[in-house]
Symmetry: C2
Subunit: 356 residues, 2 copies
């Protein structure tokens, strides 16, 4: 391995000059600088980043944790995290956990052991060390921010949407189109966010004076297959629903297929509303009405928050709530959807400033 010392020898300068040539070239006399560059080229020298890091306080590296890389909902968030991260000189690495504690802990350890600076969690699973520290009453042992999953906010800043409100919006829309027997396919109910959506569904039914029927609630796990299975269960009931609100687009797509397989029409027999606004949702037959999550803003805001955290600018356990949006397509209203999808909402400008 060729080291800085080899270059120094070859160029006939000190190792300091080599180091400076790489770091503050302006300070080095052009002829020496030239010789150093030449030696580097000739010997094919690449500085050892590990050794560099040993002397640096930070790495400008963040890790984004996704529970499952095959869930397309996270993709756009990640891409927007990257946008802001690169803008600010961070490198971003993605880690997939499959919702397993050991995997998450492994990535979290990279931060504690100084291989990376901070974490953005797209998922509610908490690093063990974080949990341990909090139960011991200690301060947060690592900088992290939660994006789009709720958890105890004592653990770190959150950026979320109003899941309760969004569910109400979706159900209100179904009621407005004339549906009266509205079912819901929930996500895993040990998940706070799913509980919120279910509660919103119930609240809106209650507000509209519609009866609650436990037979109209089916639990899924966010996946395509679980959506289909849940819909099949709902269809098997004695009194068929005339609409279904799904807590994810993936489950809604599964439901769409189950309904088609039963020979029923969407939205004629059953209207369907999803949640997330996945790209695929615009391409189902019929296209899917859904709640659009502000993925771009979620990602950008989360990264800004982490940046602030890493610079010691304290975000006092702050929770940012971003606006959602109902996107109406043909799965909930009859007739061809003539208007194109609404544009994504611009980010609230005040956030931009606060966290710039």
């Amino acid at each position: 391995m060729v080291t800085i010392r080899d270059i120094a020898r070859r160029a006939g300068v000190s190792i300091t000059t080599v180091s400076r040539t790489l770091r503050e070239p302006a300070v080095v006399r052009p002829d020496k600088r030239e010789r150093v560059h030449q030696a580097i080229a000739e010997m094919n020298y690449v500085p050892n980043a590990i050794a560099q890091q040993l002397r640096r306080p930070r790495h400008e590296t963040v890790i984004v944790i996704v529970p499952a890389i095959d869930n397309p909902f996270f993709a756009d968030i990640v891409q927007n995290i990257e946008l802001v991260a690169h803008e600010r000189g961070y490198r971003v690495l993605i880690g997939e956990t499959q919702s397993r504690q050991d995997r998450l802990d492994h990535y979290a350890d990279m931060v504690t052991t100084r291989l990376a600076d901070g974490l953005i969690l797209l998922g509610a699973l908490l690093p063990s060390q974080m949990r341990d520290a909090r139960t011991a009453g200690l301060p947060a042992p690592l900088p992290l921010v939660f994006a789009c999953e709720r958890s105890d906010s004592a653990y770190g800043p959150h950026v979320v949407i109003d899941n309760h409100g969004a569910a109400r919006t979706a159900v209100a829309h179904l009621i407005a189109t004339g549906c009266r027997r509205i079912a819901t396919i929930t996500g895993p109910l040990d998940n706070l966010l799913c509980q919120d959506r279910l509660a919103g569904y119930r609240a809106e039914l209650a507000a509209a004076g519609l009866p609650q029927d436990p037979a109209l609630v089916a639990e899924g796990d966010f996946s395509l297959g679980s959506g289909r299975a849940a819909m099949l269960r709902l269809l098997a009931g004695a009194d068929r629903p005339d609409a279904v609100f799904c807590a994810s687009d993936q489950m809604a797509i599964g439901a769409l297929q189950a309904i088609a397989a039963a020979g029923l029409a969407v939205p004629g027999d059953i209207a369907v509303v999803g949640f997330d606004d996945l790209p695929f949702g615009a391409f189902t037959v019929p296209p899917l009405t859904t709640i659009r999550q502000p993925t771009a803003a979620i990602g950008a805001t989360a990264m800004r928050m982490l940046d602030a955290l890493l610079h010691g600018r304290d975000l006092p356990e702050r929770t940012v709530v971003l606006p959602h949006q109902l996107v109406v397509r043909a799965s909930s209203v009859a007739g061809p959807p003539l208007a194109p999808d609404p544009p994504a909402q611009p980010e609230p400008p005040d956030r931009q400033e606060t966290l710039a």
Copy 2:
């Protein structure tokens, strides 16, 4: 920051003993070991991985490069890379490039600068340093393996499928079901893999004695939207196709929607075959006939190859070709698809042994 020295002082031992307690506990006398552990716990000591790495030859870390994290095709490959990687003690980090050279180079630099050990490329883009080295006639400057995208095999080992043959399989299936005017929606044609699939399509038409019509070839970019747009173009032609072979499931899903929007039936008016076997493909209406790529085997094999490479076991520029599989669903044959999807094919056992 608490260092190994602090622990040594607190425990009344040398730093060597602390280090050994962590690395080879068996060699340390139990009482001292105990004192060290206690000091560690009391002072909340976490070894600095950067400093550790400085003295270690390897990191047991690999980076998987995906062109776009929102392309679900890569998800299963990545998950299987992780499976084998963890089994063998590697940590895996994912980097997204958006097909941009600078981003790829950034991740590749992590290997040259010794922050990671090797790269698995899910995409054909080549690290600049690799290209430079090869044009200069130098050996590969970093350990990498290509998974599922073809490129000049001089750059490193490949694991691929027979794209030409797979396209022929797909088209042969359409011909067998009675289609005669078969269109194709290709991926970006600067991509070798897409050229292979197009060539396979042409070869099979030729073999069947069917005429080639340039009006039946439309180029897309793998995305949902490009599939819809391409299908619209094909439908606008004077003589409508009775089938379309799409070079990705995403484009096939787009095509499905365009066909439905035109008021045509699948497969009655137009049969559709995709490529990849995305989970979503089983959930379209009708479910999508497709070519299943052996994603599990691709991921596992790629990781095994990289592992071999990192252990200096030379894979002499080797190319592994894995088998694909036609999955017939209702988008290409009338009548309900009664049989469930075929199980994924087991990996060819010889590979397992060769690379174990």
